[in-house]
Symmetry: C2
Subunit: 283 residues, 2 copies
């Protein structure tokens, strides 16, 4: 197998493995909650395969769950190839040859409890004439709790520092800049890390870093969920949560590049808009 | 008074008069509903003045109501002036002199009953080195009813035809093209008319046409509301309505030029995002 082919296979296999491990962990949380509260059946992921209109150009599987803890969560692992649309060529190293190959995992959790933060995580490998990794994770509590924010940042910092001490400050800053709503002069949440076009020239090292980010997420987010899972909340907390979710919608539709890229490059609409919260109010 | 100043005064006065007449009509519908059902107090508009950060550059009044019939309606009349941001100059005749003056009425209704269509109406006068009118009205039923759609189109057609028989076909087509969600390959609603940079060279005539569009709306929409007001509906109808509202959000944040213009030119965020539905689901 050529280097190119082998790297594609390994990247894809990792994103799918990570998807499976996260699904298992989230279902375990559903089990714990159902057992502790006796409040009904634990949520289970449903897996929906999708392919592009021309299936030879790829597709993926959306794992989604409507549970008791996870009000709406979607985890998509997909692998696609094709021709970059004009708008995205210069950005993505496709000026000379607009063909691309991409594999990714992308995840969002909107939680029933306003005490449990929403979260987003995505890592991806992108290959044109160039090759790079991108991704990140960021936390959106409805009301920030300092201990949770600190633990989330610490987990990502450790993942970064294990590879290069310059990564964390750079990618944390990028996250703060990226997940920002200029029209409201508000950050989307409390941040995390964001990286794109990460290419040190050492593919193995960059792939290892990308795996570490995914594993850090898999470690820290379930811990935060379990910490807040049984805290009581009021109708007022819920209302606040539904309003804050409106900001999430505004960000994703007005500013998010992944959303724009997907919608303009024949992505799966249901998969791309999986990030939309299940229930939102703009009072 | 110069022609320029007189035209500004008259355009602004019209948009504010139309706002007042629409508010009165909507409140009358609230009264009728409350009287017929005995279900509680009729909704009333609340008027919130706003000004730009530099108040010498204008502001407006948002009239908004949360009623029994009108779940959320906002009618904004505003008059602003300033410097066009770079992105919007060529589009709006501001290449040589980027100063602009604009006055408008903009309205949106999200209705409690899934049997009553949502609606949007906007008319505006814009002055740079050039001067023109723009606007339109479009209907978004949750489940289209042919008679309502036909009456809505007929009212706008009559308003257009009274001025020039070429307007209606052109502006109906523009509306169908404009209020379209490419990512879903779906129209936003059943259409209406949309016009922009309307300038025949005869200001009086163009202003009269713009007034006619506003009056056609004031005639037809209340008729449609009264026609459907007392129809029963189910939880399933409501769920469908909340899902359809998601399409409205997607359109406004992904594609609407007025939203983008407002957010990038220091418009009032609450006023611009008044169009967001009060409650939405993305299941």
């Amino acid at each position: 197998m050529s280097d190119d082919a082998e790297r594609r296979v390994r990247a894809r296999a990792w994103f799918e493995e990570l998807r499976d491990r996260i699904c298992a962990e989230f279902e375990a949380i559903e089990d714990e909650y159902a057992a502790a509260t006796g409040s009904g059946p634990a949520g289970r992921f449903e897996r929906l395969p999708w392919s592009r209109p021309d299936p030879t150009t790829g597709g993926g599987v959306i794992a989604r769950m409507t549970g008791q803890v996870f009000e709406k969560t979607g985890i998509m692992a997909s692998t696609t190839e094709g021709i970059l649309s004009q708008d995205f060529r210069s950005d993505r190293g496709g000026d000379d040859d607009p063909r691309y190959w991409a594999s990714s995992i992308s995840l969002i959790c909107h939680m029933r409890s306003p005490k449990v933060p929403a979260v987003h995580m995505n890592t991806r490998h992108f290959r044109t004439a160039q090759s790079w990794f991108g991704g990140g994770a960021d936390l959106t509590p409805m009301v920030p709790v300092e201990a949770d924010t600190a633990d989330f940042h610490a987990a990502l910092k450790a993942a970064c520092d294990a590879h290069d001490s310059r990564y964390y400050p750079r990618y944390k800053k990028w996250c703060d800049e990226y997940f920002f709503l200029p029209h409201r002069n508000e950050p989307r949440g409390v941040g995390g890390i964001f990286f794109d076009q990460h290419d040190t020239g050492d593919w193995e090292r960059d792939f290892a870093f990308t795996r570490s980010v995914g594993l850090a997420f898999l470690d820290v987010y379930p811990r935060l969920v379990r910490r807040r899972l049984f805290e009581p909340w009021t109708a007022e907390d819920r209302r606040h949560q539904l309003i804050r979710r409106g900001r999430y919608v505004e960000f994703n539709l007005l500013y998010d590049r992944g959303t724009a890229f997907g919608l303009k490059n024949g992505g799966n609409v249901e998969a791309i808009l999986m990030s939309m919260p299940p229930e939102v109010i703009w009072p």
